[in-house]
């Protein structure tokens, strides 16, 4: 029995050798380029903003600054203004919001001041780090509203043409990609955010953004409904 393995039964031997040689060379080159790209990325030396990675030290320092307001573990804080939970938030959502603050598509003077000094690498680094934080929810909504809130969250309000929150934000409210995590968010922050959607988000009509998708939802919810759904969300883990 002939046990030699033949790669190609039809190609002539030299062509076959050439193909193999090219694939090996290609692999080696790819590996070298990969190593170089990784090395440059880690040291942050490439000029391309998209591939520069902020050094760990830089992100950690700035992160401490963020957590001074947003809570020691990013769980949020009841300041004079409710300061939202960032722990476990979707990376893409945080990035989008930081750019929205910087470009004033989302109006908040405190966040504009904080965000506009951040480099793209820092934005990416911070967003990634918040995702990894996982304290329990503060849980500050009125308990009596939770049941009604669950109804709205999971089933929507068909009469008002309001879709179930769970349809996009997930049945556990953890979001996905650009769709934010809601679980464990602060009650007064949720109430304020839904009530003020039209005057805080999408403030540059010439530059519309993803906030537009929530505008009809926020508009269609009345105050008791907002408070109920906010109460329910505030306890989600």
């Amino acid at each position: 029995m002939d046990l030699r393995v033949r790669r190609s039964k039809t190609a002539p031997p030299n062509e076959e050798r050439g193909r193999r040689l090219r694939s090996v060379v290609g692999l080696v080159l790819a590996l070298q380029v990969g190593i170089l790209a990784f090395a440059f990325a880690v040291t942050g030396r490439t000029g391309d903003a998209a591939t520069v990675v902020a050094s760990r030290h830089g992100v950690d320092g700035k992160l401490e600054y963020c957590l001074e307001c947003h809570g020691a573990s990013g769980q949020g804080y009841h300041g004079f203004y409710p300061i939202p939970r960032l722990a476990g938030q979707q990376t893409k959502y945080i990035e989008n919001q930081l750019y929205a603050f910087i470009e004033r598509r989302r109006t908040n003077s405190i966040m504009f001041n904080v965000a506009h000094v951040l480099s793209p690498a820092m934005v990416a680094g911070l967003a990634e780090h918040f995702r990894s934080l996982s304290p329990g929810p503060i849980g500050d909504g009125p308990r009596g509203l939770v049941k009604a809130g669950e109804q709205i969250f999971q089933n929507g309000i068909p009469d008002a043409n309001v879709a179930a929150c769970s349809a996009c934000h997930g049945p556990d409210g953890t979001g996905n990609d650009q769709i934010p995590r809601l679980a464990g968010q602060l009650y007064p922050y949720l109430v304020k955010t839904l009530a003020n959607w039209a005057i805080e988000r999408g403030q540059k009509p010439a530059n519309p953004d993803t906030s537009a998708i929530m505008k009809p939802v926020a508009h269609s919810l009345n105050k008791p409904q907002i408070e109920a759904v906010a109460a329910y969300i505030s306890y989600l883990k």
């Binding site: 307001c69 300041g79 004079f80 405190i110 904080v114 965000a115």
Partner: protein, 158 residues
């Protein structure tokens, strides 16, 4: 202003409150504009006053003047008395010290409202409110005397 002054003095004469020994023990130093290093307490957040009394009593707050004056002043205060004192002072009308140097107010306002992001300095307004009134356990800063605020900020930095 006259009405405010009258209202303030009327509150001070409230029977059973301003004349009670517990309150008078505080107002020796803390009445009106405060005296020496003692900050004014009128209009301060009740939860903040209560927390600080208990922290002085437990020797948690241990700055030099805290040790020298407040440890002794609070040693005999029960939690219930601390609570009553806190409510009493929080309901007095606040009066601003107005004793800072006017030429640096604009800079101060900018730091208060916007922070200094490049130096990782938070905007005070986020927690202490647009008029420095505070909320809950977060203290009123608005109206506190310039020397007191300056000393406290320097102590935080130590």
């Amino acid at each position: 202003m006259v009405i405010l002054a009258l209202a303030f003095s009327a509150a001070s004469l409230w029977p059973g409150h301003a004349e009670s020994p517990a309150v008078r023990n505080c107002t020796w130093c803390h009445a009106g504009q405060g005296y020496g290093p003692a900050p004014r307490l009128a209009g301060q957040q009740a939860q903040y006053i209560e927390k600080e009394i208990m922290d002085f009593r437990a020797h948690i707050r241990d700055n030099p003047f805290s040790m020298q004056y407040m440890w002794g002043a609070t040693a005999a205060l029960s939690p219930e008395t601390a609570h009553s004192l806190a409510i009493y002072f929080s309901e007095l009308l606040p009066q601003a010290a107005d004793d800072g140097m006017t030429d640096i107010v604009a800079t101060g306002r900018s730091i208060y409202q916007d922070g200094i992001a490049e130096s990782d300095i938070v905007a005070c307004v986020a927690c202490h409110g647009p008029n420095g009134e505070g909320v809950g356990e977060i203290p009123r800063l608005g109206g506190l005397a310039y020397p007191y605020m300056k000393r406290r900020l320097e102590q935080w930095g130590e």
